[in-house]
């Protein structure tokens, strides 16, 4: 037996047109809710993506936590990074080459160490012509 006949037998006075209208209304409201859920989910994904992007380029961390290379903090840094900060205390601002002269290490080592400290938020760097200077803010 078809579903329509069962309904008609059970509720002989039921107007099928009214029932359909009610169903369409219900479906329209469900659709609206689904649309807003999809929109909200899209917004959440976008925010999450932006957040991950900011963490990836370190800007977020620098905005909320200002890292200071004070003497106590230096104690907990790896030896090679600590040496670079100590040299910068003395030189104020320096290129990787200046740092290498001060620490008696290779320029490449100082460049890697200083850039790592920049990524960690302890140092800043600026470009002047072809030279890159590292400094403690």
């Amino acid at each position: 037996m078809a579903a329509g006949e069962t309904v008609r037998k059970k509720w002989p006075n039921l107007d099928v047109n009214v029932l359909l209208t009610m169903l369409i209304d219900e479906l329209t409201q469900v659709n609206k809710k689904l649309d807003s859920m999809v929109e909200l989910n899209g917004k959440m994904l976008k925010t999450q993506e932006e957040f991950l992007q900011r963490i990836a380029n370190q800007s977020y961390r620098r905005e909320i936590i200002k890292l200071e290379p004070d003497a106590m903090t230096l104690l907990f840094l790896p030896r090679s990074l600590r040496k670079t900060v100590m040299a910068l205390y003395k030189l104020k601002e320096a290129t990787a080459e200046d740092l290498a002269r001060e620490t008696n290490r290779l320029r490449a080592v100082e460049s890697a160490s200083a850039n790592q400290l920049v990524r960690m938020g302890y140092l800043k760097k600026k470009r002047e012509g072809r030279r890159v200077y590292f400094y403690i803010e």
């Binding site: 200002k66 200071e68 003497a71 106590m72 600590r82 040496k83 100590m86 003395k90 403690i136």
Partner: protein, 264 residues
């Protein structure tokens, strides 16, 4: 080395750090060197008392003001050489003993401490190039705290003053292993207040003691100064290098000063 910066430090108080710092400064100045002696113990300032006779009037600028960027180092230093009739110039930088000043220095931020250590690092060139200073001595606060570690890391040589007391020795051992070695500073240990009546002196075991201590601390011992009763009895604020010329304590200190000259 012109403008060499020497920090005097200890693991605990009462080892004779300030007596060593002040008398070493006067010993150098007596030899004709130009000296700057800075009180970096902002929590318990003492140079103001030691040099009270030589200051000659109210202090216009404290070392605190220099550290806070409120005056230059030239303004914060007081020349006391004439008062003590010294051959060289002795300039002293005093920490402010007022409670508000101490409170102010205790509550500093980490950002301020970074500026402070940078200031101390740049002192060497200002003192030696602009003020013709031969040696700068930092009298620090005991233990590991910002004011002392800033002084230690910005100096060329550190002298850790210790007694033979096991608390002192253990404290120095820990400080050397956990702090000094991390910064790879040139460090020597000065043993002070060693009782002369002990078997160390009577049996001529001084060399043995030095070698044992060097082995335990893994750093050179620059000198062993006996405990002189009259030094202990004298006011800690008295200046032996002025008041008791020829005292054996000063001869010990001269030997230390001589050895320091060979440390680059």
């Amino acid at each position: 080395m012109k403008g060499k910066v020497i920090s005097i430090h200890s693991s605990r108080g009462g080892t004779g750090k300030t007596v060593i710092a002040t008398n070493l400064a006067v010993t150098y100045a007596n030899k004709g060197l130009n000296i700057a002696l800075l009180d970096l113990d902002f929590r318990a300032p003492s140079l103001i008392t030691v040099f009270s006779k030589g200051i000659g009037g109210p202090v216009k600028h404290w070392l605190n003001d220099f550290m806070n960027g409120q005056c230059t180092i030239e303004q914060a230093l007081i020349n006391v050489s004439e008062e003590y009739n010294l051959r060289g110039r002795l300039l002293i930088g005093l920490a402010n003993p007022a409670i508000e000043a101490i409170q102010n220095m205790i509550g500093k931020s980490r950002a301020w401490e970074v500026t402070a250590v940078k200031k101390l690092f740049s002192l060497r060139s200002t003192l030696s190039n602009d003020m013709d200073i031969d040696r700068c001595i930092f009298d620090t606060s005991p233990g590991i705290q910002y004011s002392s570690i800033n002084a230690v890391i910005s100096s060329d040589v550190s002298i850790i003053v210790t007694t033979l007391d096991s608390l002192d020795v253990k404290g120095v051992q820990r400080m050397l292993a956990e702090f000094y070695d991390a910064f790879e500073k040139r460090t020597v240990v000065l043993m002070n207040k060693v009782f002369p009546q002990t078997r160390i002196w009577s049996n001529g075991r001084q060399k043995e003691l030095i070698s044992q201590m060097e082995k335990a601390l893994k750093h050179p011992i620059i000198g062993v100064i006996p405990c002189y009763c009259d030094v202990l009895q004298a006011e800690r604020a008295s200046l032996l290098a002025i008041e008791k010329l020829g005292h054996p304590f000063l001869r010990n200190l001269e030997e230390v000063a001589e050895k320091l000259e060979h440390i680059e």
